[in-house]
């Protein structure tokens, strides 16, 4: 069976400079793939390029077996993607945002399933974005990624600004959705979530692959989280020092 996503030699440019180079990665279907790195190491650029929000500057990008490196719109149509929470317009309500992304709110609600409750969306639908806290905006942005009902979803640091209860509920709901057939790709800063929730992952440093985190490594990380944290931090430090 084809992997859901297969990148080979992928490169992304921002302002004429390569911020991601020679990235190879394979993401299995119905799995949760985590991307981790230091700030400014290219996670967001890579995810945006994969989601068709930025062009690739080189390499190959196969989605469901189809080469889409040169087809930005084609990639955008394949992935659900959470818009940055700070780009949500103040003059829209939560409901407006979700309808602009996914059509009628009834359809969106049915596509969100358990996530609707996990994100506590009901009171946010009639609230103006301008009146929302950072955490509320983040909930709406995460919901927007699922509003179109895509089987492939990309979230860029979805747990930022959420309170501990919301983080727990969202992580559980996402894990259930992956078990139900979703392929999820997330950028993360939290090594605990990477180890406990993800099926595979990748560490980026200076826009290049520093370490591929397969199932065995992540399983060992769950057994010994402190050792995993120490190794990961050491590797990120050594990379950023070079």
């Amino acid at each position: 069976m084809n992997p859901a996503v297969d990148l080979a030699g992928a490169a992304v440019e921002r302002s004429g400079q390569h911020v991601v180079q020679d990235v190879d990665l394979t993401i299995s279907r119905e799995s949760w793939f985590g991307l981790i790195s230091a700030n400014g190491s290219g996670k967001t650029s890579l995810l945006r390029a994969l989601a068709g929000r930025l062009p690739f500057a080189g390499g190959s990008c196969r989605v469901d077996g189809e080469e889409l490196a040169g087809d930005r719109v084609g990639r955008a149509l394949r992935f659900g993607f959470s818009p940055p929470a700070d780009k949500l317009p103040d003059a829209l309500s939560g409901c407006d945002v979700l309808e602009l992304v996914g059509g009628s709110i009834d359809d969106v609600r049915s596509r969100l399933g358990k996530l609707h409750e996990a994100l506590g969306l009901a009171p946010l639908l009639d609230r103006w974005i301008g009146d929302c806290s950072a955490g509320m905006r983040q909930r709406i942005a995460v919901a927007a990624a699922f509003a179109g009902g895509h089987p492939l979803v990309i979230l860029d640091e979805p747990f930022n600004w959420l309170d501990p209860v919301a983080i727990f509920d969202l992580r559980e709901a996402l894990r259930d959705m992956v078990a139900g057939g979703l392929t999820l790709i997330t950028a993360l800063h939290d090594l605990g979530t990477l180890a406990s929730a993800c099926d595979a992952g990748l560490m980026l440093a200076d826009g290049k692959v520093a370490l591929a985190l397969d199932e065995d490594i992540l399983r060992a990380a769950v057994q010994s989280p402190q050792a995993f944290e120490r190794q990961t931090i050491d590797r990120l430090r050594s990379r950023s020092a070079t």
Binding site: R53, L54, R72, P83, K87, L88, P89, A91, L100, A144
Partner: protein, 169 residues
């Protein structure tokens, strides 16, 4: 949202009608001026363009046509209600002025949407002022070529905006 837009349009048409009823006694030129000014004022209320919404819709994959349609919906409803009502009650001259002003405002809204897809608000507003001024200059000095210039301008903006759809920089 659609219903509230229609309600606002009907309310605006009613307000304009009530304002024009006493003006029926004015001469033709004065009446035309009052109708024009009243329509412009109400059209301005019905056609606010939020640059953040335009940019969000662009990021969410909406094309220019869809974004423009969303922004001129209220004005289009006003046009339909007002022109037909005024034709019956105040005659074809008033209805014609309202239709012309609304059409011009729709063009202005379309121009703003197209430019907001491309540039940040401050520069976009400056560019809209320059382009609108250019169109008015052409309309005054060479009205025959106005459609060609306007079409070329809109086509070029639309073409560049299409490349921005979904883009998140």
């Amino acid at each position: 949202m659609v219903r509230s837009g229609l309600n606002r349009s009907v309310a605006a048409a009613t307000v304009l009608l009530l304002a024009l009823l006493p003006a029926r006694t004015l001469g033709t030129n004065a009446l035309m001026a009052v109708v024009g000014i009243g329509t412009v004022l109400l059209a301005l209320i019905l056609t606010s363009v939020d640059d953040a919404i335009v940019r969000f819709m662009t990021i969410a994959g909406h094309g220019s046509r869809h974004i423009i349609a969303r922004h001129i919906r209220g004005l289009a409803s006003f046009l339909a209600v007002a022109v037909s009502a005024y034709w019956v009650m105040l005659g074809p001259i008033v209805a014609g002025i309202v239709a012309a002003v609304c059409a011009a405002m729709m063009l202005l809204v379309s121009l703003r949407v197209l430019v907001y897809r491309l540039h940040a608000k401050r520069f976009a507003d400056l560019l809209v002022s320059i382009l609108a001024g250019l169109l008015m200059l052409v309309a005054y000095s060479m009205p025959v070529v106005l459609p060609v210039i306007a079409l070329a301008m809109f086509w070029q903006l639309q073409r560049r905006g299409r490349a921005k759809t979904w883009l998140l920089t």
